[in-house]
């Protein structure tokens, strides 16, 4: 029996010893920080927010931010918004958007940057009905970069008789892992054309890009607008990439989605290189973009306290005495607030799903009076972007009205134009009849027997134009530039 114990003990000891390794270890420092498919990771701090709170009590939403990618985040934002029923049930006491910056992974900090953001929130009311929970959405928006460094093979290719295979490497397709960013280069295919007359070979790389982070992509210029719900995300094929090999910038263009794997988008990068001998070198591919994390949902319950608290909505008293928020009702509210039966304004209740809301500035012709609290107006929001932007819901044309309003041009539209121009409904004055204007929107060259805007001073005897009839208010211009809509009977030389 003793023999058995000794034998088993020896075997166990040797089992552990066989894992030993003497001599030098394989690596002293792990310098590979370009791994992983995430950039910013947001998680809630345990208990913040709490799963349940009491009616009207303040609480915090605590967020842990980690930069698990290889790029520093210099201008990141976290947006917290209440997305549940009843717009005014919760009041985020700070700004609902907070800025942050986090360094990425590095040799000296393999875990990446870490930070905590706290949002102070107050519950102001609860729903009359029993709700299973109230929901908050949290997203992160940040600027990021994908940087892929790939070892590629350059073998001289000659149009002459094939050379013997003494190359040190081969130009097989390269399948890549992650690069420490939410957009990754997944695959690279290489093609080398034989030497041209210049002595250089044209080298092509097909670069396959994929969104592996689970979030959305935005342009670097407007990811903060997207964060606030005012801009649009873009597709992967709209990301701009750049590539460099042997200190030469390559020319890169998008090709489109990979038919075999539609999640990947193909870009082609090329340059001319002098390849004298077979060797490996580094291909650097870079993409810069804004990234929006997938929304995190947080749910919490609000427990009502029996008593004389306002069971509906506490609205700021300065907005009126519940006039647009339903009838006033009994119930205690914090100082400066009134207990009203409705949590949404009359404007929102009367205009559901048609783009109306309470705004400071309105799109032309959309005002619906007396349905918003305080100085806010019930209307469609004035678009502050470009007059001719595709995203402009009230898109128009930038025209020179020669000092008049847009009335001769079909009315005003929302949006900004360059100095001296106004945003109007159409680019040509109303003087043209509908049939003549047609789809071209261009004045006909032949004015005779047509309506045309002419200077008042050019009509009449001994003047360039004789009009069969004239109409005002359909042509632009004021003062000496004032034009009249004239049905041209004849042109007088």
């Amino acid at each position: 029996m003793g023999m058995y114990k000794i034998t088993i003990f020896s075997i166990v000891v040797l089992f552990f010893l066989s894992g030993c390794e003497i001599g030098t270890q394989d690596t002293v420092m792990d310098s590979d920080v370009h791994t992983g498919t995430q950039g910013l990771i947001i998680s809630t701090i345990s208990g913040s927010p709490p799963k349940e709170i009491l009616h009207r009590s303040p609480f915090q939403i605590g967020l842990e931010l980690r930069n698990k990618g290889a790029t520093n985040i210099n201008n990141g934002y976290v947006l917290v918004k209440y997305i549940g029923k009843g717009k005014d049930y919760f009041n985020i006491l700070d700004e609902n958007t907070k800025a942050f910056s986090l360094e990425g992974k590095s040799v000296l900090n393999l875990g990446g940057g870490y930070d905590i953001l706290l949002f102070n929130v107050e519950n102001t009311a609860v729903s009359k009905e029993e709700e299973p929970g109230y929901f908050f959405g949290i997203i992160g928006c940040y600027d990021y970069k994908t940087s892929a460094s790939v070892e590629v093979c350059l073998n001289p290719v000659s149009a002459e008789t094939a050379k013997i295979g003494l190359d040190v490497c081969s130009t097989d397709d390269l399948v890549l892992g992650s690069q420490g960013a939410p957009i990754a280069v997944k695959k690279i295919k290489e093609y080398i054309l034989p030497k041209q007359e210049s002595g250089k070979s044209i080298v092509y790389f097909n670069v396959y890009l994929q969104n592996v982070g689970g979030g959305s992509i935005a342009l670097l210029e407007n990811y903060t607008d997207v964060c606030r719900g005012k801009g649009k995300t873009i597709n992967l094929e709209d990301v701009k990439i750049s590539a460099k090999i042997k200190n030469e910038e390559m020319s890169c263009e998008k090709v489109g989605k990979d038919k075999e794997n539609p999640e990947q988008v193909i870009f082609i990068c090329s340059t001319a290189l002098e390849i004298l001998e077979s060797h490996t070198t580094i291909l650097n591919i870079e993409a810069k973009y804004g990234y929006i994390t997938k929304e995190i949902g947080v749910t919490m319950k609000v427990n009502k306290i029996a008593g004389d608290f306002c069971e509906y909505v506490c609205i700021k008293e300065e907005w009126g005495v519940c006039d647009v928020y339903g009838e006033g009702t009994e119930g205690k509210c914090p100082d400066g607030m009134k207990c009203c039966t409705e949590s949404t304004s009359l404007c929102e209740r009367d205009h559901q799903n048609d783009g109306y809301g309470c705004y400071d500035e309105c799109a032309e012709g959309t005002l619906d009076k007396d349905k918003c609290p305080g100085d806010l107006k019930c209307c469609k929001e004035l678009y502050v972007g470009g007059c001719e932007d595709e995203e402009n819901p009230n898109k128009g044309n930038c025209v020179n009205t020669y000092g008049t309003s847009c009335n001769p041009f079909g009315g005003v539209r929302d949006g900004t134009c360059d100095e001296g121009l106004r945003c109007c409904a159409q680019s040509n004055p109303l003087c043209m009849t509908e049939e003549e204007l047609g789809d071209s929107g261009v004045n006909y060259a032949d004015e005779v027997d047509n309506y045309y805007c002419v200077l008042e001073s050019e009509i009449g005897n001994n003047k360039p134009y004789t009009c069969a009839n004239t109409t005002s208010s359909k042509c632009p211009g004021m003062g000496d530039n004032s034009k009249i809509c004239c049905y041209i009977e004849s042109k007088n030389n």
Partner: protein, 340 residues
Amino acid sequence: MKEKLVLIGAILTIILFVTGCTTGDGQTGFGFGSKSSDRFDDDTPFTAQAHQGDDGLALQFAKNNPPTKIYYTSAGTPFNVIVELRNRGAHQIDDAYLYLTGYDKNIIQDTRITPGGSLPVTFDLEPVTNFNPEGGYETVEVENTILNWPEGTDSYKPTIRASVCYRYETVANPVICIDPHPFSSLSEDKPCRVRNSYDYSGQGAPVAITGVEQEGTEDLLHLKIQVQNMQVRGVVYDEDKYNPDRGPDSSSCPFNLQYKDINKVDYDDPDFSGSGTKPQLIECKPDSPIRLVDNKATIFCKFSMPETDEIYQSPVNIRLHYGYLNYEEMSVDIMNVASE
């Protein structure tokens, strides 16, 4: 009995685990198992003898030069590449030249090359002789720096290749039986008999004459000479493609050898030694240069028998000349630990 079985089982298990225990460089701790490289053994070509073996020039990277792992800390991080060269064969090497390739010379730049100062490095090496049984020896040292590290790159793992091109010769003197009456009675006591009697034991060259078959009539002597490239990784090529003065852009060894250039061996007309009556060469086919197929070729030569009734042995001098390329490769792992 049971205890004995358990003891035997325990001993076998111990042996099994112990053989799994390795040192950091892949060597087994107790001398069992395969070694990571045969190139550091004394039994490799670096101990060959004259006119024996299949080696011409042998080369290897010196230990730790380059090291297998290099840490790039800043622009100018240095490392050395040292190539050891030895002529293990029987022929003098003149104006051999060495190139280092396989890596991006924008990233890794040489700062000093000894000897010569620049690539390719040309050198001469004595053959193995009685006075130099190890053969001529040379080292080429290339001091490099890592300069233009590509931004955002964590590591670069080039394979450094040292290629040496040189001209070489193979000389063999198989002994042939000259018998004017090869079909006479077998019972006759002759000094020698016509047969395939050449025993190959290497000629101290990478391209060898591996066999000589002999057939004779009363008028003619036929020789069938077998030629073979003995090195799997060595490349024999048309010696016209050897040119140390041309760079990577030229059509010469090692960069631009084409299929039509390789496996070509020139030969001189075989000649029987001696000044007296001897077989005279009529013709040899195929003409020089011959082309090796699957590393082998055969030369057929026809001689006229001398006008004599004497039966005797005589060596026939066979000489091959060709260009040869040897190369060695080594992977280097350069890791970026520079602070940004």
